[in-house]
Symmetry: C2
Subunit: 125 residues, 2 copies
């Protein structure tokens, strides 16, 4: 069985290098990708590779901030920038019994205003 | 050293139960909480307990969707609802050498529109 932490490291290395052959080796045939914010979903390995290869054009770079992985679960926090815009990507991975990715749940939280209700409880940075 | 997965489980149990005495036992004295979306920060155990106890009033309930933990790193995905509004909370935890939480980075991604650039690559749910 593949090591979940290493699979997530390889996943982001492959994405960063647009190495879609390596990328395609990490999910299961029946992988599901879902993004709850937009309620979008992609099913199946080849459609998922195509979604990544074609859905995010541009000269972006990424930096992995954190990976936390157990045997069948992992999460990552990545920072992606195309020079003008900065994105934060938070991904939760579920693995099948062979260590292939079977579910990916992505979140992309934007900047937001601080609610006035807790302004007295925090500092800003 | 405390088990990081269990600390995260206990963290959310204590928050859900408003059990601030148990909650206060999990971070280090020098804990830092940061929320990159709003660029807000809270430093120190007692200020962090107060932030949680006072900053989020209301009759909310929470469900832990995922925890992924290694020795000094963990992440969780929780769903919080107060009956009318639903929130998704994504938290990354860093632990000190005793297994106390020393850094918490929170994200709260809202719903968003599907970009038209990838509408042909996904289905909706």
């Amino acid at each position: 069985m593949r090591d979940a932490h290493q699979v997530v490291v390889d996943y982001w290395d492959a994405a960063a290098n647009r190495d879609w052959a390596t990328f395609a080796d990490l999910p299961s045939d029946q992988v599901v990708h879902q993004a709850p914010q937009t309620r979008e979903r992609v099913c199946g390995r080849m459609d998922y590779v195509r979604f990544n290869a074609e859905g995010f054009p541009g000269d972006w770079h990424l930096k992995v901030e954190r990976v936390g992985a157990e045997t069948r679960r992992a999460a990552s926090w990545v920072e992606i920038s195309d020079g003008s815009t900065h994105y934060v990507g938070l991904c939760f991975f579920d693995f099948d019994e062979d260590g292939l990715i079977e579910l990916i749940t992505d979140f992309w939280p934007p900047s937001s205003e601080l609610p006035s209700a807790r302004i007295h409880l925090v500092e800003r940075y």
